[in-house]
C-alpha cells in the first residue's frame, strides 16, 4: 500500500504543477460500455448495463463503474450498483483497485469498501477480483475472454461469480450462497471499436441459501436469457 499512496500523491500533485513541466502528460479518459443490453427471458425482461468511465494517468486512474439490471415487468431495479474506484498498476499486467461501492436497488441500500485486482492473465483472460468490505461482505470474481472469429466478429464468453459471506435476507443474499452468471456474446465492430452490437445468451443461477431466499420470494433460482445489445467505447 505504501507504493499506492506514493503513486496517488505522485499523480495528483504534478497535475497541479503541470505548467512547469514541458512534458505534462495529457489526461487519459474514456468510456467503456461492456454491456448495454436487453435480456429476454421466460419471466420478466431485463434491461442491463455494465460500464466503466475512467480518467487519469498511466499511474493512477479514477474509475466510475456502474452495473444495473432493471426488470421491465416489475419496473424496478433488481440490482443497481455504482463504484468509485482508484486504480494503479502493481505489475506489468495488473492494477490494484480501491474504492467504494454503493448499492441502491429495490430494497435497502448498502455501502461497501472495495479492494481488488484488475488485469490480464496469461492467455488473455481479463480478470476482476474484488473484495467488498462492509457488514455484509462478499467476494466477486469476473473473467472475460475476447475470442476473435475474424478481426471484426468477436465472441466474448464471460463468467461472474458472487459469493456473500454473511446473510443479508433483505437483499436476498444467503451466507456462502453464490450467484453465478455465465454469458456468451457475439459482437460485430460496426464503427471502428466505437459501436459493436451483439447478440448472445445470458444465464444466471443462484445456489445455496441465496437460491432458497429467491425461491421463497417466488422467483426461480436460475434463468436463461437471450440478449441483444451493444458494446460501446469512446
Amino acid at each position: 500500500m505504501h507504493r499506492f499512496w506514493k503513486r496517488l500523491a505522485g499523480a495528483l500533485i504534478p497535475a497541479a504543477l503541470a505548467a512547469s513541466a514541458a512534458e505534462a502528460e495529457p489526461l487519459i479518459w474514456g468510456i467503456q460500455v461492456e454491456q448495454a443490453e436487453y435480456r429476454i427471458g421466460e419471466g420478466s425482461d431485463v434491461a442491463a448495463w455494465d460500464f466503466d468511465v475512467l480518467a487519469g494517468s498511466d499511474e493512477l486512474k479514477v474509475v466510475w463503474r456502474s452495473e444495473g439490471e432493471y426488470a421491465t415487468g416489475e419496473e424496478a431495479f433488481e440490482t443497481l450498483e455504482n463504484q468509485l474506484r482508484l486504480q494503479t498498476p502493481v505489475t506489468d499486467f495488473f492494477d490494484a483497485v480501491a474504492g467504494v461501492r454503493l448499492d441502491t436497488p429495490k430494497g435497502p441500500d448498502r455501502i461497501h469498501g472495495v479492494i481488488g485486482l484488475h488485469g490480464l492473465t496469461r492467455q488473455w483472460f481479463e480478470v476482476d477480483a474484488d473484495l467488498f468490505v462492509s457488514d455484509h461482505p462478499s467476494f466477486r470474481f469476473e473473467v472475460e475472454y475476447e475470442g476473435l472469429i475474424t478481426n471484426r466478429i468477436v465472441f466474448v464468453p464471460s463468467i461472474e461469480f458472487d459469493l456473500p459471506f454473511t446473510d443479508d435476507a433483505a437483499t436476498g443474499q444467503g451466507a456462502f450462497g453464490p450467484t453465478l452468471e455465465v454469458g456468451g456474446r457475439i459482437s460485430y465492430d460496426l464503427v471502428d471499436r466505437l459501436v459493436s452490437p451483439y447478440v448472445g445468451v445470458h444465464y444466471e443461477r443462484k445456489f445455496g441459501e441465496t437460491a432458497d431466499l429467491a425461491r421463497a420470494d417466488g422467483e426461480e433460482a436460475g434463468a436463461v436469457f437471450f440478449v441483444i445489445g451493444t458494446r460501446f467505447m469512446f
Binding site: 498511466d58 490480464l120 492467455q123 476473435l148
Partner: protein
C-alpha cells in the same frame, strides 16, 4: 477565407524565394488549420502555408537563413528542422529549445546552413505532425555532388489517418490494439492447424498467450492512407521524366508511425544519400525507410512508359503509390500487397533469456565486428552474460554502469581502432547476393527481415558506407546503454524502463565521443532520433560508418551508434514514432561545456 488568402500569399512568397524574388535566405512560414483530402477521406489538419504537406524549402549550404514562422492556430505550435545541425535555441522543440510559438505569434529562426542534402521539418508540438504539419528541406551543396542527374523530385511519404492524433493516442491508451486489425483470428488458427498440425498451432498460440503479446504487433496504427507528396494512392502523384534521363528521388518518410518498403518495379535504384549524407552508391531493388529517415536514390527510366513508385507499409496494411511517367495521366500496374509478416520469438528477444549469445550482439560478432583486443571481447561477453536483458531494470542499469567503470570505457584505447580495418576485410560488402550473410540488423530468425519482391537486392543498414567521414575516426570515450522498453498492454513506452516525465536528462560532455548501445527489448521497431548532432551508425564499416540522424532498431537486436559531442546545449532524443515518443520513449540530452558563451547561456537556462 481570409486566412486562406494570407496563407496563399505566403506560399507564393516562399515559392518566390526559391526563384530569387525575395532577398536570399529569408523565408516566411505560416502554421494553419488546413483541409486534407487523401482520396479515401477528408479531414481538417495542420499545415504550413495553407497546405499539407508544407512547402519544399530550398536552402544553400553556407547561407544564413532567417525564417519567420507565424502561428495562425488557436493553440501553441513549433517547427523543428529535422536533421539540421544548428544552435540548440533554433532547434524548435518546446520545453527544450524554447517555449514554443504561442497562438497568433511569430517566431524568427536564424541559423547558418552548414550541411547539404535532403531533410524535412515538422511541428514538435502535440500531434500536429501526424495531423499534417510537415514539409521538405533540400539543401544544395557548396561543392557539386559526385554524381549527375537530370531532374529531381522530393518524394515525401506520410500516413494520414482519419482520426486526429489526440484521439488516436487516447484510443491507444484505452485499448492498445484499437487500431490493430491484423490480429490472429480463429480462422488463422484453423489455417495454422491445417498447415503444421493442431498441436503445433496450439503451442504457438500458447507461447504468445503466455507472454500476453501478439505476433502481429508490427503496426500500432492501422487504418491510415499513405500519402506521397500529399496524394493518396488513387490521386497518384506523378513525376515526369524523359526516357533516358537520370532522375533523383529524395525519399522522406514523414509518417507518424509507418515504415515503408519502397520499390519501383522495372527500375533499379542507386542509393546515394542516407539521412542527407553521401554514401558510397549502392544499387538496390528495394529499401526500407524508417520513420523520419531520408534516402536519395537515382533511377534511370529508359523506356517510354510509366513506372509505379510503390511504398508498402512494413505491416502490409496499406500502400502509398506514385508514378514516374513520360507524360501526365499515365499509370503502370500497381502491385498487390504482400502477405503481412508475423513476429517470431526471436523478435520478442526471447533469445536474450534463453541463449544469451543469439541476439544482436552475436550478429555483430558474426559480422567480424568483434574487436581483436581481448579486453574488448570481454566487454561484449560481459555485457551479455552479466546483464540478462529480461532482468528487472534497476539491476540492469547498475550493471551497465559497473561494466563501464570496470571496463575502462573512458580510457580510449588506440588499438580499438584496428577493429575497423578488420571489419572491412572480414565483411565482404558488395558481394553478390548469395554471398551476403544474414542481415545483422534483424534478430536471427526475425519475422521482420525484409526481402526484395522479385528476389533482388534489399538495402541493409550493413550496406551503407559514408563516402567521406565527417569526423576523424576515434574510439568512443564512453558507452551509454539505452534499453528501449515498453508495455504494449498499457501502451507505455520508455527508455531503461523510465518514461520521459520521470527521467533525468542524459548529460554529455562537449568534446567527447559517446557510444550509444540500443538494446531493443520491445516487440516493435524504434527509429531513434538524436537532435543537433550526428548519429554515426556502427555497421562495422569503421571509419566509413554511415552518418545519420535516425537509427532504426529492430526488435530483439542491439545496435550501436556513436556521436561526436560537438553541439552545446540541450537537445531532444527520442523514438520518432509519434505515439511512442509522446508516451515516454524520449529523453532530454544536455551537452555540458563547450564554447564559453554557449555554456553560460545553457547554465542560465538550466537555472531558469
Amino acid at each position: 477565407m481570409r486566412n486562406f488568402a494570407i496563407a496563399l500569399a505566403a506560399a507564393t512568397l516562399v515559392l518566390g524565394a526559391g526563384a530569387g524574388a525575395v532577398s536570399a535566405g529569408e523565408y516566411e512560414i505560416t502554421v494553419d488549420r488546413v483541409g486534407i483530402d487523401t482520396g479515401d477521406f477528408t479531414r481538417t489538419g495542420v499545415g504550413f502555408n495553407g497546405a499539407s504537406p508544407g512547402p519544399v524549402l530550398r536552402f544553400r549550404e553556407g547561407e544564413d537563413v532567417t525564417i519567420r514562422v507565424t502561428n495562425n492556430l488557436t493553440e501553441s505550435t513549433s517547427i523543428h528542422w529535422h536533421g539540421l545541425i544548428l544552435p540548440y535555441q533554433q532547434d524548435g522543440v518546446p520545453g527544450i529549445s524554447y517555449p514554443g510559438i504561442p497562438a497568433g505569434e511569430t517566431f524568427t529562426y536564424r541559423f547558418p546552413i552548414v550541411q547539404s542534402g535532403t531533410y524535412w521539418f515538422h511541428s514538435h508540438t502535440g500531434f500536429q505532425e501526424p495531423d499534417g504539419a510537415y514539409g521538405a528541406i533540400v539543401i544544395e551543396p557548396k561543392e557539386p555532388e559526385p554524381y549527375a542527374w537530370d531532374r529531381e523530385y522530393v518524394v515525401q511519404l506520410a500516413d494520414a489517418h482519419p482520426h486526429s492524433g489526440n484521439r488516436i493516442m487516447r484510443n491507444l491508451k484505452m485499448m492498445p490494439d484499437y487500431y490493430n486489425r491484423k490480429q490472429r483470428t480463429l480462422f488463422d488458427f484453423l489455417g495454422d492447424a491445417e498447415d503444421k498440425g493442431f498441436g503445433a498451432a496450439l503451442s504457438d498460440r500458447k507461447a504468445w498467450g503466455d507472454m500476453r503479446m501478439m505476433p502481429t504487433d508490427i503496426e500500432d496504427l492501422q487504418g491510415f492512407t499513405p500519402l506521397i507528396n500529399g496524394k493518396g494512392p488513387a490521386q497518384n502523384w506523378t513525376g515526369l521524366f524523359s526516357p533516358g534521363e537520370r532522375v533523383r528521388l529524395r525519399f522522406i518518410n514523414s509518417s507518424a508511425m509507418t515504415y515503408f518498403d519502397i520499390r519501383i518495379p522495372g527500375l533499379e535504384m542507386t542509393v546515394v544519400q542516407a539521412d542527407g549524407n553521401e554514401v558510397q552508391p549502392v544499387v538496390v531493388d528495394e529499401f526500407r525507410i524508417a520513420v523520419a529517415e531520408t534516402f536519395d536514390v537515382i533511377v534511370e527510366p529508359k523506356d517510354d512508359r510509366a513506372y509505379t513508385i510503390f511504398a508498402e507499409s512494413m505491416g502490409r496494411t496499406a500502400y502509398g503509390r506514385g508514378t514516374l511517367a513520360p507524360r501526365e495521366g499515365m499509370a503502370s500496374e500497381v502491385p498487390a500487397l504482400r502477405q503481412a509478416p508475423l513476429l517470431t520469438m526471436a523478435d520478442m528477444g526471447m533469445a536474450h533469456g534463453e541463449h544469451g549469445g543469439m541476439d544482436g550482439d552475436m550478429a555483430h560478432a558474426a559480422m567480424g565486428h568483434e574487436p581483436p583486443k581481448p579486453e574488448a571481447v570481454d566487454h561484449s561477453k560481459m555485457d551479455h552474460s552479466a546483464m540478462g536483458h529480461d532482468a528487472p531494470k534497476p539491476e540492469a542499469m547498475d550493471q551497465s554502469k559497473m561494466d563501464h567503470a570496470a571496463m575502462g570505457h573512458d580510457a580510449p584505447k588506440p588499438e580499438a581502432m584496428d577493429d575497423s580495418e578488420m571489419d572491412h576485410a572480414a565483411m565482404g560488402h558488395g558481394e553478390s547476393e548469395p554471398l551476403r550473410g544474414p542481415d545483422p540488423f534483424y534478430a536471427p530468425g526475425s519475422g521482420l527481415k525484409p526481402e526484395a519482391a522479385d528476389g533482388g537486392r534489399f538495402l541493409s543498414y550493413a550496406d551503407l558506407k559514408a563516402r567521406a567521414p565527417l569526423y576523424p575516426h576515434r574510439p568512443a570515450t564512453r558507452e551509454i546503454e539505452l534499453e528501449l522498453t515498453g508495455n504494449m498492454e498499457r501502451y507505455t513506452w520508455s527508455i531503461n524502463g523510465v518514461k520521459y516525465a520521470d527521467a533525468e536528462p542524459i548529460r554529455l560532455q562537449y568534446g567527447e565521443r559517446v557510444r550509444f548501445k540500443f538494446v531493443n527489448t520491445t516487440m516493435m521497431t524504434h527509429p531513434m532520433h538524436l537532435h543537433g548532432m550526428w548519429s554515426i551508425l556502427d555497421n562495422g564499416s569503421g571509419e566509413w560508418n554511415p552518418i545519420k540522424h535516425v537509427i532504426s532498431v529492430a526488435p530483439g537486436t542491439t545496435v550501436y551508434m556513436e556521436t561526436e559531442v560537438d553541439a552545446p546545449g540541450q537537445w531532444a532524443f527520442h523514438c520518432h514514432l509519434s505515439y511512442h515518443a509522446d508516451a515516454g520513449m524520449f529523453r532530454k540530452v544536455i551537452v555540458e561545456g563547450g564554447p564559453p558563451e554557449e555554456a553560460a547561456d545553457l547554465a542560465e537556462r538550466e537555472r531558469g
